[in-house]
Amino acid sequence: MPRYLARRLLALLPTLLGVSILVFAAMRLIPGDIISATLGTEAGMLTETQRAALERYYGLDKPPVEQYFVWFGEALRGNLGHSVRHGQPVLQLILSRFPLTLELALLSMLLALLTGLPLGLLAALRHNTWLDFAGRLFALLGLAIPNFLLGTLIIFILSVVFRVLPNAGDYVQLHEDPLRNLQQLFFPALTLGFAFGGSIMRMTRSSLLEVLREDYIRTARSKGLAERHVILHHSLRNALIPVLTLVGIEFGYLLGGAFIVEQIFALPGLGRLTINAIGQREYALVQGVALFVALVFLLLNLIIDLLYALVDPRIALARHE
């Protein structure tokens, strides 16, 4: 296992380097140059000296490769640039908004697991009954309703039918008032987790159905073991491995999806910060978020892979060969 971990960490480095080059290069590809793009029409009013000063400030007077190394060196030291509109360092802004996005993603994953797992198990154990049918209908709806549509519908229903606005007033952080915080995040998390609950249900169902057809289950049953024992001790662990993979794959997408949901529910997380930054052409901020989220995403995938190797030891062994 330690060797496996070391190998995986090493394999991460070239990807991270590539990600940083891509993020850096992307901002250089912006039509025109970054000064004109940031200032818009005001760029035309710059004097020669002002423009030269700005170019020096952004490092545009150096060759691109050198620019990249300067930028990357600064990024490694935690300096991702400065946000003009917020008047704060980019990293500080990101770190202050990220907890909300993470909490939203975690909460929606929890909701998805709480609905998807039991529904999937029930659907598989009561295969081809109305329970199975209802579960599959739920999964289908999850597949069909995009989160921006579901969020819009939820806000509509809450405000028109129940006359409540989920986020009336300011957002409260978890440590300030846990109950109010959860109240505020419940519907956004439901919006974000609904589709995922559907996929978990589908995966749990099909995976358990598959395992229940295996020979060793037949053996366990023919030994006279109680059905409960067969399900709990012989089937579940194997059936849940693909579900774990799904959780790993989807968690990153929940982070991405949180970007839209935050925008709909007006939650001040990383997504709202980014989408506003795109609108306001705050390139350093977008660049910083892209780099930060990619790093988080890669680390998450690593953690999931390690968990996966713990649950299924064959994986770490196979990759050693």
Binding site: T15, A26, L149, V160, G252, L255, G257, I275, G279
Partner: protein, 297 residues
């Protein structure tokens, strides 16, 4: 990785595909929804809308559905039905160009990587890993930031997100097929690599690619709507389902039809391509089922 023995290519061809698909429940429903979407989108492309999508009937602002305006009107008195039809054309154009680009380029890269193996494979797949390092929507957002909003740029953003998926989907079967006896035999007979590729490898990766195209179209449709909803895709006054949905938000109480119909349209389109993809997967190659083959949603 286990060696999948691919189904003989001949069983994947011919008119029987449609028949087999109609025997598969999700495939049949998906096919119907997709056909309906294509029909509406085609009407939109040809400009066959009951009224002009941008025409304003000021005296009929926020009119509920009626004989004159079957799906009602919006804040500017524009006919929702006509805007939906024209929006379907926008969705189709963006989705098809995005998937064509991602599918063509991605499959080419995947086949090249799988067939060449060694360093080429390693380099190409590491490059694809870099694209995989971003959550899909964030990557699309970054691309749109760089290129600016608009339908063409949304298509490009969606294509870039889907490029590595197609590359992986194409590479996997190539890797397993190229070691099979009949391919080795063809090479031993002295066939040139390109000819081996064309006649022996390609037919075997068509099935997974077709499935992926359908799932990708579903995701493209959804992402175009999401980007437009966020104001980063198709911009108003052009009709796009995402734009219509976002315009409906402040008016949902007074004019729920403004929200309901674009919402249903998005759902039907997304569901249609998704179910069709599932159905195709069942019909073409049941072994493809599993998490690895799922769309990046």
């Amino acid at each position: 990785m286990s060696k999948n023995i691919p189904a003989p290519a001949s069983s994947q061809r011919g008119g029987s595909l449609l028949r087999r698909l109609s025997g598969n429940r999700s495939g049949a429903v998906g096919l119907l929804l997709v056909l309906a979407f294509l029909l509406v989108a085609l009407a939109g492309l040809l400009g066959l809308t009951p009224r002009l999508p941008a025409e304003q009937f000021i005296s009929h602002r926020l009119a509920p559905p009626s004989a004159d305006f079957p799906l009602g009107t919006d804040l500017f008195g524009r006919d929702i039905a006509s805007r939906l039809i024209s929006g379907a054309a926008v969705s189709l154009r963006v989705a098809v160009s995005a998937v064509a680009l991602a599918g063509g380029l991605g499959a080419a890269l995947g086949i090249l990587a799988g067939f060449a193996g060694g360093r080429v494979d390693n380099l190409l797949m590491r490059l694809m890993d870099i694209l995989f390092a971003f959550p899909a929507l964030l990557l699309a957002l970054v691309v749109v930031t760089v290129l600016g909003p608009g339908p063409a740029n949304s298509a490009l953003a969606i294509a870039i997100v889907y490029l590595p998926i197609f590359a992986r989907v194409a590479r996997g079967p190539v890797l397993s097929v190229k070691e099979l006896d009949f391919v080795l035999a063809a090479r031993c007979l002295g066939l040139r690599p390109f000819s081996v590729l064309l006649h022996h490898v390609l037919p075997n990766i068509v099935a997974p690619l077709i499935v992926q195209v359908s799932l990708a179209l579903s995701w493209a449709l959804l992402t175009e709507a999401a980007l437009s909803y966020l104001g980063l895709g198709t911009r108003p006054p052009a009709a796009s389902w995402g734009v219509m949905l976002s315009e409906s938000r402040p008016l949902a109480e007074r004019a729920p039809w403004m929200m309901v119909f674009p919402g249903l349209a998005i759902m039907a389109g997304v569901l249609g391509f998704n179910l069709l993809g599932d159905g195709l997967r069942d019909v073409l190659d049941p072994r493809l089922r599993g998490p690895g083959a799922d769309a990046r949603a």
